[in-house]
Amino acid sequence: MFSKPNDPPMLTAFKDSSLVGMIALLIFSPISGIILNGYGFNTHPQTPIMLAFIVFIGRFAYQLAALTPWGQRLIQKFMLSKGKRGVYVASPGDQRYLWIILAILFIAGLVLPFYLSKYYLTVAILALIYVLLGLGLNIVVGLAGLLDLGFVAFYAVGAYTFALGSQYWGLGFWSAIPLAAAFAALLGGILGFPVLRMHGDYLAIVTLGFGEIIRLVLNNWMSFTGGPNGAKAAEPSLFGLEFTRTAKTDGHIPFHEFFGTTYSPNTKFIFIYLVVFLVACLMIFFFSRLRTMPMGRAWEALREDEIACRSLGMNHVTIKLSAFMMGAMTGGIGGVFFAAQQGGFVNPTSFTFFESALILAIVVLGGMGSVVGVVVAALVLTILPEMLRDFADYRVLIFGILMVFMMLWKPRGFLPIRRPYFTKEGQA
């Protein structure tokens, strides 16, 4: 704004960065410079100045980088990717070495928990649970194109199936996984059948309502669910070995006694981590394979054009229903792990609309339909807020800014969607 066309580039960069810094100062001053104190307020001028200075430095660094040829190439590449459709067809053999990367990641994932503290273990478990939820919702929203704003309902159903099941019928951790999956899928089917004839906004509202209904039922049915006091699930066990200091169930012995080691509270979380990690890997395999199977293709076709699908003899209701149930099932499994990770305690406050929005954000940021994108987004969106605990007050702000920028530059998500390549012999 203040720069003249014949200024040296360094000066232009400096002026531009100063302007951006000033704007940042204007924005940050009222937010972080004034803190209420009773009926008056205290001013903290150094905080906004610090933040504005960081913005200034960042902008200046960006401008300087843009002057170098390397930086220019990077920017060019970024700008080019803006105009693309975000979909490309694979070329044969371009994923030849993918399995090596996957194998390394898999082993790293298996080894990781043994080096984490208890706090980071719980964060990692939560991140993997969100990977599961993201994958589940990705089927419904990303592949089948059904906007579901109440996905958290199935998550809650999974968690409560485990908790109430163990309270009333002595359900264990392992049997809870398939049972919760089946029950969540059943509920998904019951909800889905009448409403899946609807489209877009109507469906979104119905699912939003369903999410709230589940939460309110859990909250108000005191005699059965325990209401706001929550419910208690069983401790997870492995072949009758428990991870507590002393066995809680008759006939079980604690893990450390069996192996003759000392008790460590981490063991339980390492166990949960490993199980959820393996389940997540299985789901990633399952869903990436599904995309090239008739069912996955039908879901994507349905998202592209429902009328065309019907004209090709595909029953749109059952196809939508299969997507809905598959997503619900994954959400239910995620719920079981959540209950286990919480030390067996669940209550309805964990299943608010904010969770649904977060899972939806994971799917949107990751790129609708991209399995890798969703996994990365889930990890980033759960681990980043934990890393940013020091900025706890600004977490949602940073989150919001990130979303705005993503939607401006990469509306189709981090990663472009990859379409399979076919030869006469099969998929290359």
């Binding site: 293709r297 592209e304 004209s311 749109h316």
Partner: protein, 298 residues
């Protein structure tokens, strides 16, 4: 060459009887009757707004007709294309449980997909491809009902599953060859030029193995050379693949050249039906297209 294929067989493949369609107070179709003979090329023509696409949508199950019957009769297997869409309950159903159950079944599981399963495929006036999927995937999706859809077999990649996928790929490649799109097999359908998209849509409809294929303005937006190719393709479909073709078209050159039977619609009514030679000189048809002074046509 045209009259050889249809020496007036005993029963027509498709018969439309008394088809009436109301949109609120508008009578879009009024007692439309026509028949499509097996293995023929039948054209449905008429001025803009005559109700051609409405007839198509009623036949292919995208509209539920207000009155009338649409019957598909394929080698003795008769399907009532209106019933499979799911009809309203009638009073008589409440005293006739089997009829009630049948209607309930079609109300729950019926719909336009049933019409396709009965053997009627269609294309659309404004092309409806799966634009962000590849050409190949478009054709594979069309074979959905013929594929091995068992989840467990698919996950384990069993022999049965692989064989089913391979068959689907072969069928898809066969049809790509017929419509001359083999080179584009792995391109995104939305990236194809317009003429190729039209041909891909026909190939996709054919992948569902229909008895009757309904083409809604297949030549719209094509250049003269592409139009000639299209008429060759349509003849090829009829002669080599044993399908019956019903098409809507405005390009009179194409219609007169390939069709054996023409049905003319105007203001939701059939005003004429016959061979191209008859239609060409029919005063009512000329009046509908060119307009007349009052009283001339009657």
């Amino acid at each position: 060459m045209s009259d050889v294929a249809s020496p007036t067989p005993p029963s027509p493949l498709l018969s439309v009887q008394g088809l009436t369609m109301r949109f609120g107070g508008i009578l879009a179709l009024n007692n439309v009757n026509f028949e499509v003979q097996k293995n023929s090329i039948t054209a449905l023509i008429g001025p803009n707004g005559a109700g051609k696409t409405t007839v198509f949508n009623c036949v292919t199950g995208f509209y539920k007709a207000t009155e009338g019957q649409v019957i598909l009769n394929d080698n003795g297997k008769t399907t009532n294309l209106r019933k499979v869409l799911g009809e309203k309950f009638q009073w008589s159903d409440y005293v006739n449980p089997p009829a009630f159950l049948e209607r309930l079944y079609y109300k729950t599981f019926g719909g336009s997909h049933r019409v396709n399963q009965a053997g009627v495929a269609r294309t659309f006036q404004n092309i409806r491809l799966f634009r962000e999927m590849t050409v190949m995937e478009n054709l594979l999706v069309a074979q959905h009902n013929h594929l091995d859809r068992n989840l467990i077999r698919g996950m384990l990649n069993t022999k049965h599953y692989r064989a089913s996928e391979k068959r689907a790929l072969e069928t898809a490649y066969y049809w790509l060859e017929v419509v001359n799109l083999t080179e584009d097999a792995n391109r995104l359908a939305g990236d194809l030029p317009y003429g190729n998209q039209r041909r891909l849509e026909i190939a996709r409809a054919m992948c569902t193995e229909p008895k009757l294929v309904c083409l809604d303005e297949p030549a719209a937006g094509l250049n003269p050379r592409e139009t000639v190719e299209l008429s060759t393709l349509i003849r090829h479909l009829r002669d080599k693949h044993n399908v019956t073709v019903l098409l809507i078209e405005h390009d009179m050159g194409l219609v007169m050249g390939i069709s054996e039977h023409i049905v003319v619609l105007d203001y939701g009514q059939v005003i004429a039906a016959g061979t191209p030679a008859e239609i060409e000189v029919n005063p009512k048809v000329l009046a509908a297209y060119l307009g007349t002074e009052e009283g001339d046509a009657s």
